[in-house]
């Protein structure tokens, strides 16, 4: 939950938070795709859950993610 909004008169703080939120989202996405694959999800299901095309998610993760034993 975002509890505070950065002071609009302080763009450095606000822009830094944006960059860090993007990084957090990227990392959370990568970790969640890995978890989904580990649990037997296919690329179509992951694409639907992320709201992107199967091609997009496959292109981004097929070479990065391998199913791990759970």
């Amino acid at each position: 939950m975002i509890e505070k909004v950065p002071d609009p008169s302080n763009p450095i703080e606000a822009l830094s938070a944006v960059v860090s939120l993007r990084r957090l989202a990227d990392r959370l996405e990568a970790a969640s795709v890995q978890a989904a694959i580990d649990q037997g999800w296919n690329w179509v299901q992951i694409a639907e859950a992320l709201g992107v095309t199967k091609q997009a998610v496959h292109k981004k993760y097929a070479r990065r993610v391998e199913r791990r034993a759970t």
Binding site: V5, V19, D26, A30, A31, A35, V65, E66
Partner: protein, 169 residues
């Protein structure tokens, strides 16, 4: 003309070492496209050792710089009340995989790299880690500037020192 060709060949070898390394570092961090901070970590591994030497003066090693990157992200998120368990996310990340070959990067990396190439051209020298460090640390804002600030490194002094190392080569 032969010097130009030699420089171009050396630059190509540097890029072939640098870009896949930056991409691998970003992937290990769970990031799809490397930014200037990942480029800096890759630069510290380049054989000429200029950047590594410059950072050593300020007692900064790659592990500390990585920790500073994470630390400044944590601080930035805290300003908006977001607290994330970075270690738990790191443990759940994919192994990383092989670089894609077709190179893609964040704008911060592209800008820094173009600047470094211009610095090398001005010096009429092959691109080296000193040019890259100068270019990467040029921006007043962004992850690299904040991470160095987090470590208490005076960016202006670091850049002066890097220029001295370049001049004495």
């Amino acid at each position: 003309m032969f010097n130009k060709l030699r420089r171009a060949r050396a630059d190509l070898a540097t890029m072939n070492a640098l870009f896949p390394a930056a991409e691998r570092i970003a992937r290990d961090d769970g990031i799809d496209q490397p930014g200037a901070e990942h480029l800096l970590l890759a630069v510290l591994d380049l054989d000429d050792g200029i950047a590594k030497k410059a950072m050593t003066i300020f007692q900064v090693d790659p592990a500390e710089f990585r920790a500073a990157i994470a630390g400044q992200h944590e601080e930035a998120l805290r300003t908006i009340g977001v607290i994330a368990d970075d270690n738990a996310i790191a443990a759940a990340l994919p192994a990383g995989g092989q670089p894609r070959g077709l190179y893609r990067a964040q704008g911060s990396l592209q800008t820094a790299f173009q600047h470094a190439v211009a610095l090398a051209k001005r010096d009429k020298a092959p691109l080296n880690s000193g040019h890259l460090l100068l270019a990467i640390t040029d921006a007043d804002h962004g992850v690299v500037a904040r991470s160095l600030g987090h470590l208490g490194v005076d960016r202006a002094l670091l850049r002066d020192h890097t220029r001295s190392l370049l001049a004495t080569r």
